[in-house]
């Protein structure tokens, strides 16, 4: 949101700009180093919505006529010149907004926009409209020299555009409520430093042997402005240099007093142009880089937040899955399977009472066998959902049972247990059990070997679980390595238990999964 200044304020600025131009003008030279009014118009049109342009332009007309009345210039000439000035600013603002900001308010955000501004906002319209301007001046007998009028207007307008417009546009983008105190102080310090330095440099006698070397002294401050405050900072600082140099030149000091008056003005303008153009582009490049870095930092922060959210979600998913599986397993074991057991007992009792009826006894025997087989299936299913054994006989026995089951699938597991695993908190035991289960499942499915080593070591307040195989391994950095949910779930489970999971694997040389889980005293 760029809030434009009010039309009245712009009119006042337009009038004051003209007064400053006259103040810095040498009495015997019909031109000023800077001509601020046209640049103020261009700067404002770059900021405010195009539909309000006519209001702003019209509001400056009284200021122009007031100036005419003060200087005794013919009102007709100044009215016509006002039209060329408006056309100049309108064409420049239209081109820059169209080509560098999609029609919206223009901002100095990077090098491309700054080049468009310098070429199509500052230079081209001035060149075109200065023909008309010089024609009007000569035609209304205000000036006798078309060439001089043309060249004078081009030089002072282009230079002033390059100084004033960046300063105005950047000023419009300042969020005053969010302005940091140290930035405001820095601008003030920079301003004072530029003024004092220029006052010192340009007040030296014209014949001083310090020239031209001393002219480079303000450059350090201008670079400071370029790097810290962008194109606006450059515009503002060079504007101060221009003011100080003109002011001292009027008083006969400094390097720009050595030649005939007109040449002195041209010389100062060229000096300022040579300074402002490279600094403006440098400032644009620095700003572009700062914006890119800010954007990268913002993306990195967003990415970190999003990663943290995903991890939290993964943790919740694992916890939710575990609790749901435990619930289903409990229902299967405590209710469904108990009813099957009751059924089996009932059928068994009936079979015993069938006595001599061999056919009935046989039928009941078959029914009982089927019930037993069904019970067994449900029991295995329930165990896979949630190892309730852990609660009754602990981690060590549960792992031995699991190893024995895997032996039936042709995977021999060598289990080593060191330290007391009794009394482990249920969540630690479950985490360790699930990691071993997942790692051995991976060995069974992917490693291509029939053996694996599992070691569980409890020492003090930590539990270390290591699952090692000599199978085909994999490249942990390959994109496929993290595609599997298994590896992720081991890492997430360890993390949820405030532990850590390390997976080491080399293609052809097996895989080692190590999980550390802290054991807090109950």
């Amino acid at each position: 949101m760029h809030r434009g200044p009010g039309p009245a304020l712009v009119a006042v600025a337009y009038y004051l700009g003209a007064q400053i131009g006259f103040a810095l003008q040498s009495p015997n030279v019909p031109q000023s180093v800077l001509w601020l009014p046209n640049s103020i118009l261009l700067g404002v049109l770059l900021i405010v919505p195009p539909r309000t342009w006519p209001v702003y332009l019209a509001s400056c007309y009284p200021a122009q006529m007031l100036t005419a009345w003060q200087t005794g210039a013919p009102p007709v000439t100044l009215s016509l010149l006002f039209v060329t000035n408006c056309a100049d600013a309108t064409l420049g603002a239209f081109l820059v907004r169209r080509l560098a900001s999609d029609g919206g308010p223009f901002q100095f955000t990077g090098l491309r926009g700054t080049i468009v501004f310098a070429a199509l906002g500052a230079a081209l319209p001035t060149l075109l409209l200065s023909f008309a301007d010089a024609g009007i001046s000569v035609g209304t007998a205000w000036s006798g020299d078309f060439h001089a009028a043309f060249v004078t207007r081009v030089r002072s307008n282009v230079l002033t555009h390059l100084l004033v417009v960046p300063a105005l546009v950047d000023l419009s983008a300042v969020h005053w409520r969010r302005l940091r105190r140290r930035d405001a102080v820095e601008v003030a310090v920079l301003t004072v430093a530029v003024v004092l330095t220029c006052a010192a440099v340009f007040s030296l006698p014209t014949s001083s042997r310090a020239f031209p070397a001393v002219l480079y002294v303000p450059l350090a401050l201008l670079l400071w402005a370029a790097v810290r405050f962008g194109p606006g900072g450059v515009g503002w600082s060079v504007l101060l240099v221009a003011g100080a140099a003109s002011w001292e030149a009027l008083r006969g000091h400094g390097p720009f007093t050595a030649r005939p008056a007109v040449e002195n003005v041209v010389s100062l303008q060229l000096f300022l142009l040579a300074a402002v153009v490279p600094l403006l582009f440098l400032a644009a490049v620095v700003r572009e880089r700062n914006r890119a870095m800010y954007s990268v930092r913002t993306s990195a922060t967003a990415l970190r937040r999003s990663y943290a959210r995903v991890r939290r979600l993964a943790g919740k998913l694992i916890a939710a899955q575990e609790s749901e599986r435990a619930r289903v397993a409990r229902d299967l074991h405590d209710d469904f399977n108990q009813q099957l057991a009751a059924l089996s007992i009932g059928i068994g009792g009936a079979r015993q009472r069938a006595g001599g009826d061999a056919a009935l006894a046989g039928l009941l025997g078959t029914l009982q066998d089927q019930t037993v087989a069904l019970t067994d299936q449900v029991r295995i299913f329930s165990h896979e959902l949630h190892p309730r054994m852990l609660e009754h006989v602990g981690l060590s026995a549960a792992l031995r049972t699991h190893s024995a089951q895997l032996a039936e699938h042709r995977l021999q597991v060598r289990l080593t247990v060191d330290g007391a695993l009794d009394g482990l908190p249920p969540d630690v035991a479950l985490c360790a059990y699930r990691v071993v289960q997942e790692a051995l499942r991976n060995v069974l499915l992917h490693a291509g070997v029939g053996e694996a080593d599992v070691s569980v070591v409890r020492s003090g307040r930590r539990l270390d679980v290591t699952i090692r195989d000599n199978g085909c391994g994999f490249a942990p950095d390959s994109p496929d390595a993290h595609g599997g949910l298994g590896l992720l779930s081991m890492e997430e489970r360890a993390r949820l238990a405030d532990g850590a999971c390390t997976i080491t694997s080399v293609p052809g040389h097996g895989t080692t999964v190590h999980v550390y889980i802290p054991v807090r005293p109950a």
Binding site: H333, D334, D335, N337, Q338, Q339, L340, A341, A342, S344, I345, G346, I347, G348, G349, R351, Q352, Q368, T371, V372, A373, T375, D376, Q377, R379, I380, R388, M389, E391, H392, V393, A397, A398, R400, T401, A404, Q405, E408
Partner: protein, 136 residues
């Protein structure tokens, strides 16, 4: 012949009723309890010859109740009657002082034999424990 005095600990009502029917006429049922803590109290109170106890029970489980009973010098023979056919659990039960271990779905065939065996001073482990698990 005196019937053995049996205390039954089973939290599932339907299973408990089936077991009661199974024991009827073969044992003197001194009580049915539904959790481990009540089991310890009832066992110390009734001093049965045989305790038939489930492992999964609310609160204190069957194995824990068995440990407490043995700690307090209860000499009753104890048969664990459970859904778990895992050898590890059976071994643990024997280590805790159980004299028998049978799985519930085979109770109709094995419970009376297990009671007879343990009262005769033998240990009874259901053949289901060492039976290979069905492949999936």
């Amino acid at each position: 012949m005196t019937l053995p005095r049996v205390l039954l600990a089973e939290d599932h009502v339907q299973v408990a009723e089936c077991l009661r029917g199974l024991l009827d006429g073969h044992c003197e049922l001194v009580g049915i309890v539904h959790d481990g803590t009540s089991l310890v109290e009832a066992a110390l109170h009734h001093r049965p010859d045989v305790i038939v106890a489930d492992i999964s029970m609310p609160g204190c489980d069957g194995l824990e109740a068995l440990r407490r009973l043995r700690e307090r010098g209860a000499s009753a023979k104890v048969i664990m009657l459970t859904m778990f056919a895992d050898r590890e659990i059976a071994e643990q039960a024997i280590a805790c002082g159980a004299n028998g271990y049978i799985v519930k779905h085979a109770a109709a065939d094995e419970l009376l034999k297990a009671i007879a065996d343990v009262t005769a001073g033998l240990t009874y482990i259901t053949p289901f424990v060492s039976r290979p698990r069905p492949r999936r």
